[in-house]
Symmetry: C2
């Protein structure tokens, strides 16, 4: 391993003490559960031994021997008997969040299956993923830290997580890719040349790429990168990856490979927390106005809430643009938990639009439509376009950014309430 990267390991690998403490708590909680539940498996990055320093989110799989629609209820029953506070979260199978001694446990009921093909729910596959990664790490123990580098890098550049508001690489995707290329650095060297529709088949299940294209379900081929699941050939491990995340990963991969020669890679492993001040400075530098939204997304879990915040961002950008404003740039800070607000920073101009605006109409020869348009705007200047359409220069209803926000919040209440639970805003301009 590059000496430069060895330095980084201190930032991403948990210390002996951290590790021991984590396992003490995990095992303690696990054995409590085992009093009331058949089989409790440690999954996720703790189960695979690839968790990042400081991580405190532990997946526990509660495995039942046969499928039963009530397995979620059984887990809930156990938690009640133990007198432990929990949140039940709706999903394809309901699961549970438990806060225990500064760790966030996610209790996921699953069903024991003899082979991956029998999975009825994607979570049933998880033990196979854990086994695969553990087996590979037992063969090559250095892989654990290589995987940690990959995850930390992905996290910093904002593409770590299969949640739909991130649309990035899942932990398992990081693991499979690092294992496939045998090291973090080799993954990066390869990925810097990736192009969309790259296909990676680590276990060589398929003869060639054409066979992958022919045999995989079409919806599993939609992502720009297709990584065949080493434990389940029909599955694409990176189906969650958006074109944006894919491109972002490639872009920062190249930056990293430049910077590693300059011994300047620490920044790729520190998640920067931008302060309010940063955004204020930015809007002043850009010379625009700034709208700050503080928002709690609608939904009962963080993924849904943040996805809704993203939808609100798209919505508000579209509305402001339609009203004649230009959104030069934006920044978004997602909710960190269910109750803290996310933030959207929109850099918009101008603060004030002219008194009049151009309204496009139908072609003159669609008589009913064009006469209707004419009658509506007959008091104003109406002209004919080079394509024969009418257009009118009419008084603008919404002139200032403040009026625009008022207009959107008053007239499109339903669209907003559909996306956010709570919202407030400030408009800052000079």
């Amino acid at each position: 391993m590059d000496s430069c990267l060895k330095e980084i390991l201190k930032m991403v690998v948990p210390s002996k003490e951290e590790e021991e403490k984590a396992w003490r708590i995990i095992n303690e909680f696990k054995s409590k559960l085992e009093d009331y539940l058949p089989e409790v498996l440690v999954g996720g990055s703790f189960g695979k031994g690839t968790w990042l320093k400081g991580a405190s989110d532990v997946d526990l799989f509660i495995r039942f021997s046969k499928d039963d629609e009530k397995i979620s209820n059984k887990v809930e029953g156990a938690l009640k008997k133990l007198g432990i506070d929990y949140i039940r979260i709706e999903g394809s199978r309901d699961y549970f969040k438990v806060h225990y001694k500064n760790f966030e446990f996610e209790l996921v009921p699953i069903v024991k299956i003899s082979k991956p093909e029998k999975a009825k729910n994607i979570t049933d596959l998880s033990p196979f993923h854990v086994d695969y990664v553990r087996r590979k790490i037992i063969e090559k123990p250095y892989l654990a830290n290589e995987i940690r580098l990959t995850k930390a890098f992905m996290r910093t550049i904002g593409v770590y997580g299969a949640e739909s508001y991130i649309s990035g690489f899942s932990g398992y995707a990081c693991e499979v890719l690092t294992i496939h290329y045998n090291s973090f650095l080799d993954l990066l060297k390869n990925s810097s040349n990736w192009k969309p529709k790259i296909i990676i088949d680590p276990e060589n299940f398929y003869k060639n790429k054409q066979e992958v294209v022919n045999k995989l379900n079409i919806h599993r081929l939609r992502s720009p990168i297709i990584v065949i699941d080493p434990v389940y050939p029909a599955r694409n491990v990176t189906a969650s990856v958006s074109t944006k995340s894919f491109a972002q990963f490639i872009f920062y991969t190249r930056r990293f490979l430049e910077d590693i020669n300059k011994y300047n890679i620490e920044k790729y492993f520190i998640v920067e927390q931008k302060t309010e001040e940063y955004f204020i400075r930015k809007y002043k530098r850009l010379g625009t106005c700034l709208i700050v939204f503080e928002v709690i997304g609608k939904g009962n879990n963080l993924d849904v809430k943040n996805t809704k915040i993203l939808k609100f961002l798209k919505f508000i950008k579209k509305q402001l643009t339609a009203l004649g404003f230009i959104v030069l740039d934006y920044d978004i800070i997602f909710q960190k938990d269910l109750n803290c607000t996310g933030k959207i920073y929109l850099y918009v101009y101008p603060n004030c639009l002219p008194e009049y605006e151009l309204r496009s109409g139908p072609p003159v020869w669609t008589r009913d439509h064009s006469e209707k348009f004419y009658r509506k705007w007959a008091n104003f200047e109406i002209k004919v376009n080079s394509d024969g359409r009418l257009f009118a220069i009419i008084p603008r209803k919404v002139k200032t950014l403040q009026e625009a926000i008022n207009f959107i919040f008053n007239n499109l209440k339903n669209s907003i309430e559909d996306k956010v639970e709570k919202i407030s805003y400030r408009i800052i301009s000079r």
Copy 2:
């Protein structure tokens, strides 16, 4: 004829005195020419008896018995012998402008042909057009004034003239259409329902519209209206008509048909001369900035000059838009003669753009391009789009309208000099 229209006739039909005076001068000038030239025919609206009150532009066809490349020179020779000042204008055949006793004569050399099919130059057809219209007016004398109404209406709404900067209806097109529908009002009643690709074949040369489409040369079918020339079936009299002029005619036709019921049609026969004050009031009302260009187009005749002014308008709109400004509306006043300036009024906003702008780049996976883009803008914020393209938020070079005009005039000198002979501008903003 509608009584309302009878009132209008006073505005468009020359008085007895005007008519007598015009013919005295025309005949006087004609007989001078006849001393040196074989055959002089009065063409245009004077030749057909359809000229508008106040008209002073007379077409004279100098007809030669056989084709000869030097027929233009022969006309020039005669003018020299007569000691008359003239301007020679280059064209498919050079022609001459002569100012004589407040009339503008255009002397066009043509060749005598036995039938329209033998025309080598479009002007050779003109005597056939004159004959056709005269014959129709002899049959139905009321048509002369109906034609005058059509021409005056077209002129007011800005679609009278086959010149490329107008791209409207030629005098002959007005005549043919009015004759075909038998009156101005019937033309309007019909045209209010026109749709693009309407085909009118007054002499029924073709069995049906399909035959027209099959037999006419493709470039003669490009205009939204096809009127088969009553003297030459292969020709479309309205080939010059743009979609915009076509739509404009239909639109104002409908307005006229509404207003005639309200006895409020005078305005359709008065060409409004908008003053500078009008445009100043307009820009204030719109709440934009105003750029006024005074411009003399490049070229040796009015059509070319005004066409170039129109090209300059398109050019400057495109450039301002590319720089981030929005052209809400414009007005244009064409050159009335070779030396007086035309004017362009652009209603533009904002006066000042933000310090930074968005620059789109190539997709990340086109490595050479995207790395070049990255290196160029590495000092600024670079992000990845949802389609995998890079974009950068970079300092704007051109922020104010004044800077924009300077930038365009300095950097695109050739494009401007190609279009204008002389130009000056003012930027007006509050």
